[in-house]
């Protein structure tokens, strides 16, 4: 049994024993803190795992509380209570999902926009709750809310809340350990790379936010019968801010941290808030310290201490053996890439100037040219990273002009950037898993553990060439630049794309590493049914690998042909000898 489960079970028995060893008022208070803790767990999912911070989480908590409060103002049976609970989860879930989809659509990274929008939403919720008196009771709130049927709000409700906490902990830890959880962590680590592994990251983030919203709504649904009153404060920004502080101080990377944070600060506050005027100033100060010096909060201290005494706090459980073959990916039969008079200008700079060429079939195409020729820009245009102003890029007959990065993979286009781009805080194994899932992981497998057991012939072949990638627990960020290049290359080709784009795959490699890489590329191009485009400066690489060479200069194509033809081309000689055209 994993150590973390032992910890969780002993904490659970403490929670169950709590009302018996203390008084019922303390248990009543603890019940409220546990509800806030559940909301904190949702924040931990978004912030700790996904790397984006929702600042208005009380909105969803409050919506849940108002829904359940309105319903429980009447005498209802368990049937309707179940309906109420479902509504309290589903409505915040959908609201958060829609906001997430809209806001994340074109926002990469953990920028401030999302956080501020959620904060503003909480403020709107607060104003609506105050002004829509007919529904919410306005400033005085909903009063006369009954308890749940046959459950004493000051007694047995506590155990219902503990049950809800157990449920959310189980569900969330299942989610965090699933392929979806790993994708979410990959968003935090390197969102752009994840898009170039074919994932629409805005949906991943929106889904996580929706889950956190639903969970907050569930907690809110219990808040109403627990307190017997729901006022606009439950969805205001003050509670939202406190939720973030509790989560941060308790620890945002796990599921226990947020709960511990709420309970600890909650009990301290109930004792000190009135006696000591500077209490909240101190809490704010502690929060800043945590942000600056201890991002993992109390939870990180706990994990660190458990390592010290020799216990391994696994959050993922055991690493699965690779035992099942990956599903086959559909292969494109005809490979034809065409640039027709593609022009891109930014300001006064002409990046691509009516670039036209056509390549087809298998084999390795090398794209060369002096610095600033537009080689990488051509790849950017091809993969939706750079918007095309005029002209047409087509791949197997379909236009790529309006393609977005995450869509290129499903068209069979895989790309490796010049600077190796990996997920530094994930293990090599997790990096590999993410790339094996490209085009293969179906929606209904997002929560299944099966994809972790996938193996592929190509992976086994690459493990022979680059033995280090078979390591199970090494963190990818600890690799050298050369090894990162190799890992990145592996990740790019593992999805078996029909068109492989490699931007300077040998940059930063030693002589021996370069040879290994060249051999790997050559072998792969022979055995796979893929077209390769390699941007390269190193003529040794070009000589060994190229079946065909394209030369670019100042955004235009100036020559195309075999290496011998290119070498005898006057224009190419002029460009490389430093002359101007």
């Amino acid at each position: 049994m994993a150590f973390s489960i032992v910890v969780k079970l002993s904490l659970l028995s403490l929670l169950i024993a709590f009302p018996f060893v203390t008084n019922s008022y303390s248990a009543y208070q603890l019940g409220l803190y546990l509800l806030y803790g559940i909301v904190g767990q949702g924040i931990a999912l978004c912030w700790g795992k996904g790397g984006f911070l929702p600042l208005g989480q009380a909105l969803f908590f409050g919506i849940g509380a108002y829904i359940s409060g309105l319903m429980l103002q009447n005498d209802v049976g368990w049937g309707l209570v179940i309906v109420t609970l479902s509504l309290s989860i589903v409505i915040p879930f959908l609201l958060a999902g829609v906001v997430g989809v809209l806001v994340f659509n074109r926002q990469i990274g953990s920028g401030p926009y999302f956080s501020l929008i959620t904060l503003a939403l909480a403020l709107v919720g607060f104003q609506l709750a105050n002004s829509q008196v007919w529904l919410t009771g306005g400033f005085n709130g909903l009063t006369g809310i009954n308890g749940l049927p046959n459950i004493d709000s000051f007694g047995s409700l506590y155990f219902v809340i503990v049950g809800a906490l157990v449920l959310t902990t189980i569900i969330l830890s299942k989610i965090m350990g699933s392929p979806f959880g790993l994708l979410l962590e990959a968003v935090r680590e390197n969102e752009e790379r994840l898009q170039f592994l074919g994932n629409n990251t805005s949906w991943i983030k929106a889904a996580a936010f929706a889950i956190s919203g639903g969970i907050a709504g569930l907690a809110g649904a219990f808040f109403a019968p627990h307190q017997g009153i729901v006022t606009p404060q439950v969805l205001g920004f003050i509670l939202s801010a406190e939720l973030v502080i509790w989560t941060a101080v308790g620890g945002r990377f796990g599921l226990l941290g947020p709960v511990i944070g709420v309970v600890l600060i909650g009990f301290l506050a109930s004792g000190l808030r009135d006696a000591f005027v500077y209490w909240e100033v101190i809490v704010a100060f502690v929060f800043i310290l945590v942000v600056l010096r201890l991002p993992g909060g109390i939870g990180a201290i706990g994990v660190h201490l458990s390592r010290k005494i020799g216990l391994n706090f696994h959050s993922y459980g055991e690493i699965s053996e690779r035992s099942r073959s990956v599903p086959e990916v559909d292969k494109i039969i005809t490979r034809e890439l065409k640039f027709e008079e593609v022009t891109i200008t930014r300001g006064s700079v002409v990046i691509l100037d009516k670039l036209s060429f056509k390549i087809e079939g298998l084999g390795i195409q090398c794209l060369i040219g002096p610095n600033g020729a537009g080689k990488t820009s051509a790849l950017n245009a091809l993969t939706g990273k750079l918007e095309v102003d005029s002209g047409e890029i087509s791949w197997c007959g379909g236009s790529l002009n309006n393609v977005r990065p995450f869509q290129t993979l499903s068209l069979g286009i895989g790309r490796k950037f010049q600077v190796p781009s990996i997920f530094p805080n994930l293990t090599i194994r997790q990096n590999i898993d993410l790339s094996l899932w490209v085009n293969r992981l179906k929606r209904n497998q997002l929560l299944s553990m099966v994809p972790y057991t996938w193996k592929s012939d190509l992976l086994e072949k690459l493990e022979e060439v680059f033995p280090f990638i078979s390591d199970k627990s090494l963190i990818a960020g600890s690799l050298s630049v050369g090894e990162r290049q190799m890992l990145d290359f592996t990740m790019t080709v593992l999805s078996e794309p029909s068109l492989v784009l490699l931007d300077e795959p040998c940059a930063g490699l030693s002589k021996a590493e370069t040879e290994t890489m060249i051999k790997a590329i050559a072998d792969l191009s022979k055995s796979s049914k893929s077209m390769f485009i390699i941007v390269e400066h190193d003529m040794q690489v070009v000589e060994l690998l190229s079946d065909n060479v394209l030369v670019m200069h100042q955004g235009k194509l100036i020559a195309q042909g075999s290496l011998a033809e290119i070498r005898s081309n006057k224009d190419v000689q002029r460009v490389y000898a430093g002359g101007t055209k």
């Binding site: 929008i117 904060l119 005027v277 100033v281």
Partner: protein
């Protein structure tokens, strides 16, 4: 006709005030990449400066230097203690300044309590303009704001410091390599940015209720303006202010304050969805 003139003047007034409030955030976020969540708290500090001046029974005029002084001191301390360590960690600056915002709010709450304070109108009376009697203080405010913008724009485009700031924004590494002290320059930019917020707070104090939580509204309106107008240009800031200010004013008048606020929020979400770089984005 009179109603229209009043509406027009109100429109200009609201936009001008919003532009002044957003100016500091635009400087700090646009130039330094720091989303200063404590921006509104500097407006709040400025407003409390005006209240302190009133309590001390000296001329309201002193509120302006006091507000600038207080926000500059706080801005300097915050930059020195927290922000300077985080310039390349955008997300952490968001968190840290969020913490600082709470700290400042709670601190002010301890000193001044949570009660509403009011600052007396200093220039009562109206002036006739375009056939309507318009509050004199508002007209003075509009003129002051125009002056501030002109001075800052000239400073940014003509002065040596402005040139260095622009160099730093475009290429910090190169700027440092040719002998520009980026650390000092970032600090100056941050302090000037938050000082304009403090100044705005002092000027607005007679018009609003002063309490520890007013900052949040100013932070969010400033943020909406940046979303709509786009980063990195004065034109964007002004257009953003007029769109946000105008929408809020019109919808609030027709329906209520909540509807006005919601419409502004919805516009911002739509912008993030469809036009994430704002209206005035030069690429």
């Amino acid at each position: 006709m009179e109603a229209f003139a009043t509406f027009l003047l109100n429109f200009v007034y609201v936009s001008a005030i919003l532009a002044l409030v957003a100016l500091g955030l635009a400087m700090v976020f646009g130039l330094l990449g720091v989303m200063n969540m404590a921006h509104g708290e500097f407006v709040m500090l400025g407003a409390y400066s005006a209240y302190v001046v009133q309590t001390a029974q000296i001329s309201f005029f002193w509120a302006i230097p006091l507000a600038i002084f207080v926000s500059a001191i706080f801005g300097f301390l915050i930059e020195w203690s927290v922000i300077r360590h985080l310039y390349n960690r955008a997300f952490d600056t968001l968190l840290a300044t969020w913490g600082l915002a709470i700290l400042i709010r709670k601190g002010v709450e301890v000193v001044f309590t949570r009660d509403y304070k009011s600052v007396n109108q200093v220039v009562p009376g109206t002036v006739e303009l375009f056939g309507v009697n318009y509050p004199a203080y508002r007209l003075i405010l509009i003129s002051i704001i125009i002056c501030i913008f002109v001075v800052l724009l000239l400073w940014y485009q003509r002065s040596k410091v402005g040139l260095r700031v622009r160099a730093m924004v475009q290429n910090p590494g190169l700027a440092a390599a040719i002998g520009i002290d980026i650390a000092i320059l970032s600090r100056v930019t941050f302090v000037i940015g938050v000082s304009t917020a403090g100044l705005a707070g002092a000027l607005l104090a007679p018009l609003v209720r002063v309490e520890p939580y007013i900052g949040l509204d100013y932070l969010l309106s400033s943020f909406f303006i940046l979303v709509v107008g786009g980063l990195g240009s004065i034109e964007g800031l002004l257009i953003g202010s007029t769109i946000i200010g105008g929408t809020d004013a019109v919808i609030s008048t027709i329906f209520d304050k909540t509807a006005g606020y919601m419409s502004v929020l919805i516009i911002s979400i739509l912008f993030l969805w469809l036009r994430p770089d704002g209206i005035f984005y030069r690429r």
